[in-house]
């Protein structure tokens, strides 16, 4: 919700705000330049002295002004012709033209009104208001993303455009808020929407009627320091009823031109001080350094805006377009989608189109947007749920279960849940099962029993579609065409072969990094950004279904590396194991944010067997910060399938790896990695109590054995793997 109300005003106001910020940044230079070029005033110089100097140089002087920058300007009449100059206070003589800078004048008008008068002022004020709004909603998003206001400057991860957007914004937001709020105040003041703050004293009723008293006989002028001056206006020549008008930092007064007496005086009132402070904060006049700092901050606005557009575009490209999506309140069918990699959205689009064609009004939304209160005309709710990792909710289903549990007996339209998964995983469609079970416990009536789609099977989907059609009394023919992810071509650079002796031929395959386009680099798409632990989808010849492998390298390493064991009769693993350097494969990248070591310096316990060493080796290789890593590695035989046996000693020497424990399953004393853990139980328990994070990668049996071993090891501490999982300190990548 916050994201939407952040995005749209931001996109709409982008052009306006860009003009505002660029012109504002350019204007911020002038007060600093004025400050640098302003003539120095000798210490203790008083107004009587300065005014006398100027009067000697320009006998027709009418007005002396001092700008916030310290620049002193005099205006005079000489034989009927007006003159003006910037004055050197030491001599009273003009040193520079007093004409306003035409560039500054042009920029000022662009900045506040686009040269369009009052209408332009209102437009620019709307831009400033949008800036305030977008800054506040953006700040809320940053706080949410970094995990709270106290973690405002926490390090960021993600595509370059995301990081640039937030990095610049979280520094600039203070300046943007200050500039836009003060700008709004000034516009309101211009339009007279604020209380008037004029404290100018009334013109004195009685004057002496005499003229020509010496300026040094005016005590007020003598006691006023030049550095406090704002403005001194001289009386009209020949008008004995006129007076001197003096304005200083403190207030305004009138001085008799015949006696030198101060006739009236009024201090600046509180409102005027506030107004002046706001003017100073906005323009930097009188606070040149602050002005420059604000100018620099607002220079970030075009970058923030541009990256914001990129983020928005990248988000739109991530899922197929749903044509003719109805509003939630009007729809009779609500279609909620929880997808991790995006493939479930393809099914949703197919279902949406088919239902719409059958005359239904369908509203399709991510599951995180579940809002039962707004489904006024819903006759059924259909949930398409992928499963992430070990039965967890995908990111796009955030908060769904909590809202479901909070329903508290509300009657909702009947529910159909369709799970998407891969039967070879233990937690097959576990999230869909959780939804169905929770809904049943809440008394939510089922439209159809829970059904599942195995490995994106179009046949499964068509079958389920017929069942749904029967329940609705319509003919529903769901024809799903799998969307192949845009793959890139990877070229094999080198391979290292292992395991032939133990009947498990395995290769560490290293591919060249594909060239990343600028677009990919900015949006972090494709191979422009990846880490060890992310997944690579290989599209083998002869099958539309990709096979996923865990990456053993990061983009920073400069290559794409995977560890692949050849399965007997395996289509993809066979093709990969047959690759020779120079051969190519089609592949795409899929992020796996759940299997990352994360930041921080807490110890890492990495447990893997066989090809599961791949991502773990990648974590060790990337550990330049020497975080204590304890690697438990199970293999068949050290002479045959000890992957990374060349690198591991080096990494240990470099401090990237603190401890290596190997378990050999074939040989004199067969040993599995879970046994190795038990053998080191005291140390493992101590590390976990110290906050260590456990990462397990490998086959399902190995992972189950490791979980059992850890349960035993942790029993004396009161901790369990389940507790660690809930804290995010125990993660698995199991296949």
């Amino acid at each position: 919700m916050i994201r939407a109300i952040h995005r749209w005003p931001g996109l709409l106001a982008l052009a306006l705000v860009t003009v505002l910020s660029l012109s504002g940044a350019a204007l911020s230079v002038f007060p600093a330049a004025d400050r640098l070029t302003a003539q120095q005033v000798e210490a203790g110089l008083n107004m009587a002295t300065l005014a006398t100097r100027i009067q000697i140089a320009y006998p027709g002087v009418e007005q002396i002004r001092r700008a916030a920058s310290g620049q002193i300007t005099a205006y005079w009449f000489d034989q009927g012709a007006p003159g003006a100059a910037v004055i050197d206070p030491a001599t009273g003589l003009g040193v520079a033209s007093a004409d306003p800078n035409p560039v500054e004048h042009w920029l000022t008008n662009l900045h506040r009104s686009l040269f369009l008068g009052d209408g332009g002022r209102i437009a620019m004020a709307a831009g400033a208001a949008a800036m305030v709004f977008v800054s506040l909603t953006g700040a809320a998003l940053v706080a949410r993303r970094t995990g709270g206001w106290r973690r405002w400057f926490a390090p960021l991860r993600g595509p370059l455009s995301h990081r640039l957007h937030v990095e610049i914004a979280r520094i600039a937001v203070a300046g943007l808020l200050l500039s836009s709020i003060t700008g709004l105040w000034m516009t309101a003041s211009t339009f007279g929407l604020l209380p008037e703050a004029d404290s100018t004293p009334a013109f004195p009723a009685d004057v002496s009627g005499q003229t020509n008293v010496d300026l040094f006989d005016m005590p007020t002028l003598v006691s006023t320091s030049v550095t406090d001056l704002r403005d001194l206006s001289f009386p009209y020549p020949g008008d004995a009823s006129d007076v001197f008008t003096l304005t200083t930092d403190r207030g305004t007064g009138h001085i008799d031109q015949g006696t030198g007496a101060l006739l009236t005086w009024a201090d600046l009132n509180g409102l005027e001080r506030v107004s002046e402070t706001i003017y100073m904060l906005h323009t930097g006049q009188g606070a040149a350094a602050l002005g420059l700092a604000l100018g620099l901050m607002v220079l970030g606005v075009p970058v923030i805006g541009g990256t914001g557009v990129l983020i928005w575009l990248a988000g739109r490209r991530g899922r197929p377009r749903i044509r003719g999506n109805q509003r939630a309140a009007q729809a009779d069918t609500i279609l909620l989608v929880a997808s991790e990699g995006g493939s479930t959205w393809g099914f949703a689009a197919t279902l949406h189109a088919a239902l719409t064609q059958a005359g239904q009004k369908v509203h399709t939304a991510p599951m995180s947007a579940f809002a039962p209160g707004s489904y006024a005309h819903a006759a059924r709710i259909i949930v398409l749920a992928a499963t992430y990792g070990n039965g967890d909710a995908p990111a796009s289903a955030k908060g769904f279960l909590d809202r479901l549990k909070a329903l508290d007996g509300e009657t909702l339209a009947p529910l159909a849940v369709l799970g998407f998964g891969d039967r070879s995983f233990p937690a097959y469609c576990a999230f869909a099962e959780t939804i169905a079970a929770t809904a049943e416990a809440q008394g939510w009536r089922a439209l159809l029993p829970l059904d599942t789609i195995d490995r994106q099977s179009p046949q499964d989907f068509a079958r389920w579609g017929r069942t749904l059609g029967q329940a609705l009394g319509i003919d529903l023919d769901l024809v799903y065409h799998p969307i192949r992810p845009t793959a890139e071509t990877l070229t094999l650079v080198s391979r290292r072969d292992y395991g032939a002796e133990v009947q498990a031929p395995t290769a560490i395959l290293r591919f060249a990094l594909p060239r990343a386009s600028l677009w990919h680099r900015l949006t972090g798409a494709g191979f422009a950004r990846f880490n060890a632990g992310d997944l690579i989808g290989i599209l083998p010849e002869g099958s539309p279904l990709p096979r996923l492998y865990s990456l053993a390298s990061a983009r920073r390493d400069g290559f794409v590396e995977i560890v692949v064991k050849k399965h007997p009769g395996g289509l993809c693993s066979g093709q990969l194991n047959a690759l020779k350097p120079g051969d190519t494969m089609s592949a795409f990248l899929r992020r796996n944010p759940g299997f990352q070591p994360g930041r921080g310096h807490a110890p890492l316990i990495l447990i893997g067997a066989g090809t599961g060493i791949g991502p773990l080796a990648g974590f060790v290789r990337a550990n330049a910060r020497q975080r204590p890593i304890h690697l438990f590695f199970g293999m068949r035989h050290p002479d045959s399938d000890f992957f990374y046996s060349d690198e591991l000693p080096t990494w240990q020497r470099e401090g990237r790896l603190a401890q290596l424990v190997t378990a050999v399953s074939r040989g004199a004393r067969p040993n599995y990695v879970q046994e190795a853990l038990r053998g080191d139980a005291a140390e493992v328990a101590r590390l976990i109590l110290d906050g260590a994070r456990v990462m397990v990668c490998g086959g399902r049996d190995m992972a189950a054995g490791v979980a059992d071993a850890l349960t035993e090891i942790l029993a004396p501490t009161g901790l369990t793997p389940a507790v660690l999982k809930a804290e995010g300190r125990y993660v698995e990548d199991v296949y």
Partner: protein, 156 residues
């Protein structure tokens, strides 16, 4: 260019009992290219003793800036009601303001003086920019202002 017809009898003290006779007078004020934003102009009349008699026109809509028309502000104590209904937009550099008013006959050849105060943002305030006696003879004779007004005439 601004062309208006205002009847001062409605708003100011320029019509007194017995001054029922009035005639249309066109006031034309052309500004020079002083290189700034639009100028605020106050057109007003003082009597033979120099006392404020009434306002003819105010070019500039935001009363918060009227204090920069210093003589007018002093004479009226900043009373914006003095220009109620006779206020228009400020006048850009190089542009001309033309207004037509019904002025009482008695204002002419009786020592009355027409004044223009001018003010421009970030530039010098110019009270008494123009001061021209109202005489039937002087009608049509251009007068130059001190700083911003290139040419001012009143035509009957």
């Amino acid at each position: 260019m601004k062309s208006v017809l205002a009847t001062l009898a409605l708003t100011t003290a320029l019509t007194m009992p017995g001054l029922a006779m009035a005639r249309p007078v066109t006031l034309t004020t052309t500004l020079n290219s002083y290189g700034g934003d639009g100028a605020y102009l106050a057109l007003y009349v003082t009597d033979a003793s120099g006392a404020y008699a009434g306002s003819l026109w105010m070019a500039g809509g935001k009363s918060k800036y009227y204090k920069h028309l210093t003589d007018w502000h002093r004479a009226t104590a900043g009373d914006a009601a003095q220009v109620n209904g006779i206020t228009g937009a400020s006048v850009g550099a190089g542009r001309t303001l033309e207004i037509t008013l019904d002025l009482a006959d008695a204002l002419f050849d009786a020592g009355y003086t027409l004044h223009i105060d001018a003010a421009v943002e970030d530039m010098r305030d110019s009270p008494n920019e123009v001061a021209v006696p109202l005489t039937t003879q002087g009608a049509g004779t251009p007068v130059r202002g001190r700083r911003y007004v290139a040419r001012f005439t009143y035509d009957m």
